[in-house]
């Protein structure tokens, strides 16, 4: 049976080409994703391992300190005591944080989140000596982990910095130059005293590293006399574990000791997790592509079996059982899947290598490392190939088994095609109805997300099941348009609905991809409109000031802005982790006196009031039964509690929770930082006002000053970017759908060779034959496109309703007609593209061969 399967697969390799290609593309995407993310994850992990080579044990603020800020515990005293541990050879305190460096044109160097500044402290037994780096080429300097000065010396005083060599090369900065830096507020100017080489992972990945003297770094990133972490090196003969045990006895509550091995594991886990998310999105798209491929495979095997009816009947006549026939078909499918999957694996590895090279060439600065081809992709690609193909061939195989042996003998071997669609239509209608109701009602019932997900899947499946039924009216609706193309158009319309199952399966592949595209378009357009309307109804500020990396701004920033003559109102937005029973564990601080001029919070009752007060959104108030005048308890990060009087209840517009005046929270904060600063200027936004703000911030490269339009543009731009990435991912599904249309047309041309020959004999010329095939393809593709757009728009609406019901009550449904029409147009283009090769074949058919009688 295997040999029969193999022979059959070989005999039909042309017919199976599209199936192979579809499976290959899908599995290549899967294995490419796994190899690419595995490789990057491995490379990042290796580069972070390097960062831990100079330490054995690290003391740091405990990760689960119950919201308490314990960084203050990492001080000079602890460093000294840690250095005195019997197992410790050396203890180094380090302070580091975000530090943006401006290039000669004032632009940020490197990507925002990878630019780091580090306190440069020489080691010692607890004595943080400043910059004892010996100048000289390549001489290793005891300047903390992995910094070796190649030029100049390390920074020893405020206003001095050292840059990594890579950054210096990129910017052209040299020793003696003045550079502008921004950490979390107004700009700093530093003089470059030295350049160093580092194997820091972030620098390898395109970031920058700036060294400060320890005191400056402590002032910038922690507090005077404090560190972010203390790194210990074990004395000879002491294992890291033993040192860890010694250190654990020493450290106060809230500080923990971890070994380098544990740090490496953590980092590896973190990398794996972040790449797993990327992988999940990519694999989701690959899954859709493979699912789309299933339709193509079903069509191919149905056609192969119809054509082999006699042959299979003969097998049955000479004694093969039904089971053997099924197994023969499935074995053939399995072989096809295996070959395609193996080829897919090879292509996937290639694609991963190429993508990495292309990204690197485009300046993405990915870490180096060998291509990691793990067991997962090696196993997944062939397994998926076989699985998908065999699963898709299941139904056709069952049909093959039902061919009666007598079919071998009868002269007329009509393929068992004319089965009733009644059952199918009933099932489809029921599924679609349940799905539609679930999706539409999702916003009104608890557990709406699950209901919507389930409803969407049911509706989608229902419509796919119903597509044969829908194909006739939809394509009939295109009749008048088709008839404009004369006989070729009329015949194309009729041919398109001749085998409703095949047409439906072909169109369905397109329906899936285009439904997702349409759904995303609706969501994207609605999100953009919603953001704009929210901004219009909430925003009163003229400018919003944030860090380029969305990091914290120092408190001094707002103070500097307040002093400016043009500024009439400012308020920070200070998010603090604080426990409030019955509310989100975050309390937001505003400058209560100014906030009304900067933000319309849509108060339903009351307003902001000075003193120990708070306001809360209506939903939270209702769920806790809070009323104006009630007192709520807040536990601050330092452990202290405040009783705040409720003076206002506002309508939730995107941003809910407990809000209070900054004067209430500031006493409980170790280090005051702002997430953003809102500014109102005299006479509204103007170039002059903006210039004044920027000047006050020292034209810092790391700080963004944006007006309302720019903020909205930033958000809509991000939405657009995400959508474009997703559209890009769906391209593969559409490509496979195109292959499906090509496959179906090629089959049709082959099966209708005699018809085409007859048409040619009685007077249809080649151009008209090509047009006939092209129009058939367009009709099938439009069927898929129209169903997809309708389905996608409906799902987009349902998703929006759900979002609105989850508190996002300003969600505005927008149907982007232009884009939806574009999607339908794309479907037509798919048809035209897919028809190129089959139409050419049809036009070249030899008339005589076609009409010759056997």
């Amino acid at each position: 049976m295997i040999r029969t399967a193999w022979r059959n697969a070989l005999a039909h390799k042309a017919r199976l080409a599209m199936t192979m290609l579809a499976v290959l593309l899908g599995t290549a995407f899967v294995s490419g994703t796994l190899v690419f993310t595995g490789t990057l994850s491995g490379a990042y992990t290796r580069s972070s391992e390097k960062s831990f080579t100079d330490l054995d044990v690290q003391l740091r603020s405990a990760t689960n300190a119950g919201g308490h800020d314990t960084r203050r515990l990492l001080d000079e005293l602890l460093l000294r005591r840690a250095a005195a541990l019997p197992g410790a050879q050396r203890a180094t305190g380090t302070v580091s944080g975000f530090a943006a460096l401006a290039d000669r044109h004032g632009k940020l160097v490197g990507q925002g989140w990878k630019t780091r500044g580090v306190g440069y402290s020489s080691p010692g037994h607890g004595r943080p000596a400043h910059g004892s780096g010996a100048p000289g080429n390549g001489a290793s300097v005891d300047g903390g982990p992995g910094f070796s000065m190649v030029e100049g010396r390390g920074p020893v005083a405020a206003g001095e910095v050292a840059l990594d060599v890579k950054t210096a090369e990129r910017t052209g900065y040299r020793v003696g130059d003045s550079v502008r830096l921004s950490v979390s507020g107004p700009v700093l100017v530093g003089k470059v005293t030295g350049l160093f080489r580092t194997d820091d992972g972030n620098v390898a990945a395109g970031g920058t590293l700036t060294l400060f003297d320890t005191a400056t770094a402590q002032r910038l990133f922690a507090a005077p006399g404090h560190y972010n972490q203390i790194d210990l090196t074990a004395a000879p003969g002491t294992t890291p574990e033993r040192l860890k045990r010694e250190a654990a006895k020493l450290v106060p509550h809230g500080v923990e000791a971890v070994t380098a091995a544990e740090l490496t594991d953590e980092q590896a886990d973190e990398n794996t997790t972040s790449f797993r998310q990327l992988a999940q999105v990519l694999l989701g798209c690959a899954g859709i592509a493979l699912f789309v491929g299933v339709f193509l495979i079903v069509n191919t095997f149905t056609m192969l079996i119809d054509r082999r009816t006699r042959e299979l009947a003969l097998l049955r006549a000479v004694g093969a059982t039904r089971g053997q026939v099924v197994r023969a078909v499935l074995a053939e499918a399995g072989l096809v899947g295996l070959v395609a999957g193996a080829a897919g694996l090879a292509c996937g590895v290639g694609v991963a290598a190429v993508v990495r090279a292309v990204l690197s060439a485009a300046g993405a600065n990915l870490p180096d490392g060998p291509l990691v081809v793990g067991a997962a992709p090696v196993a997944a690609a062939p397994a998926l190939g076989v699985g998908v193909t065999v699963l898709a061939a299941w139904a056709p195989a069952r049909r093959a088994a039902k061919i009666p042996p007598v079919a071998a003998l009868s002269a007329v071997h009509a393929p068992p095609g004319a089965r009733s669609l009644a059952v199918r239509n009933t099932v489809g209608a029921v599924l679609a109805a349940i799905g539609a109701v679930l999706a539409a009602a999702a916003s009104a019932i608890p557990g709406g997300r699950i209901a919507l997900g389930l409803g969407a899947v049911l509706l989608m499946v229902g419509v796919l099941v119903l597509t044969p039924l829908l194909s006739r009216p939809v394509i009939a609706a295109a009749g008048p348009a088709l008839r404009r193309f004369g006989t070729a158009g009329r015949l194309a319309g009729q041919n398109a609905v001749r085998d409703p199952r095949r047409t439906a399966a072909t169109a369905s592949a397109l329906t899936i991809g285009l439904a997702l595209v349409a759904c995303l378009s609706v969501i994207g357009a609605s999100a953009n409109r919603t953001v704009k309307e929210l901004a219009a109804s909430n925003w009163r500020a003229d400018y919003q000031i944030t860090m380029a990396n969305d990091g914290p701004l120092t408190a001094g920033t707002e103070a500097a802005l307040r002093r400016l003559g043009e500024v009439t109102a400012t308020s920070p937005r200070r998010e603090v982790p604080a426990q409030v029973k019955g509310a989100e564990p975050t309390v937001v601080g505003f400058r209560a006196s100014d906030i009304d001029r900067l933000l319309d919070m849509h108060f339903a009752e009351g307003s902001f009031a000075p003193g120990n007060t708070a306001v809360v959104d209506r939903k939270t108030a209702d769920s806790n039964g809070w009323k104006l005048g009630d007192t709520i308890q807040v536990t601050w990060p330092d452990g202290f509690r405040s009783s705040l009087k409720l003076t206002g209840i506002y309508v939730n517009r995107l941003d809910g929770g407990v809000k209070t005046d900054i004067s209430v929270m500031d006493p409980h904060l170790n280090r005051v930082t702002d997430n953003q600063i809102m500014v109102k200027t005299e006479g509204g936004p103007s170039e002059r006002a903006e210039a004044a703000l920027r000047r006050t911030l020292g034209d810092s490269p790391a700080i963004k000053v944006e007006n309302k339009d720019e903020v909205v543009g930033g958000i809509t731009g991000t939405v657009g970017l995400v959508l474009n990435v997703l559209y890009g991912m769906l391209v593969l599904a559409v490509v496979i759908a195109v292959l499906g249309v090509v496959n179906t047309l090629a089959m049709s041309v082959h099966e209708r060779a005699r018809e085409i020959g007859l048409l040619r004999a009685v007077g249809l010329d080649r151009a008209e034959v090509r047009r006939m095939i092209r129009l058939e393809a367009v009709a099938i593709s439009l069927l898929g496109g129209v169903l997809g757009v309708l389905l996608g728009a409906f799902l987009g609406w349902a998703l929006g309703e759900l979002v609105a019901s989850l508190g996002f009550d300003s969600w505005t449904l927008v149907l982007p007609w232009g884009r939806l029409v574009l999607v339908v147009g794309a479907a037509a283009l798919v048809g035209v593209t897919a028809a190129v090769w089959p139409a050419r074949r049809a036009a070249r058919l030899d008339i005589l061969a076609a009409i010759r009688t056997e």
Binding site: L491, E755, A761, G763
Partner: protein
Amino acid sequence: MSETIPETSEGGAADAVAARAEDLTKVYGQGETEVVALDRVTVAFGRGRFTAIMGPSGSGKSTLMHCMAGLDSISAGSSRIEEVELTGLDDRRLTRLRRDRIGFVFQAFNLLPTLTASENITLPLDIAGRRPDPGWVERIVTTLGLARRLGHRPGELSGGQQQRVALARALAGRPAIIFADEPTGNLDSRAGAEVLGFLRDSVRDLGQTVVMVTHDPVAASYADRVVFLADGRVAGELHEPTADRVLDRVKALDSPGTVS
């Protein structure tokens, strides 16, 4: 000869020619595998006449029809439909010639399964974008007894009915000539006789020119004239044939020694 005949002549003058081949040669393959299917065949088909082409299989009778009907290319010589020389016509012109000037009845698979009988009948006219002459089509349909079958699809028609629809299609456009390739090959004798009767009637009553390829002496006996082909050459002809006379000639052709 053909030059002297007005194009619109429908009278069925026996001396007028609807199609003519001169030194028509058809060679398949090249070099070692070269096969001469037609070897300098010269033949003319009279306007308003019913001509049968006979010959053993491999004699070239189908090839002759294909070449003269513009379905296959010609290696050498010339072939005309009325005044139009086929050699040198490109595919588009040949297609248009077939559509407008030639009717076809094939042995099997004459009709498009998606079209009704009526749509099949007017197919070439529809392709050409020409409006069928309703009176003419009605006359053909009535004559062929298809009036009550017009809305049926080929799958719902018997073999004989299908061939009659094919004949109606061939007649609908009033072509210069109808080529029929074994039109009764797939029919039982009763249905076959019916179709042959209609073919003959279309010549006698409607003045149509018909050329039929067949290997059946009985079918050939319906014709006014039988042209015999053997080994790609004309091997004689017979006027006012009967089935017996045709059979005798066929036997003579088949027997060894008579092959020229």
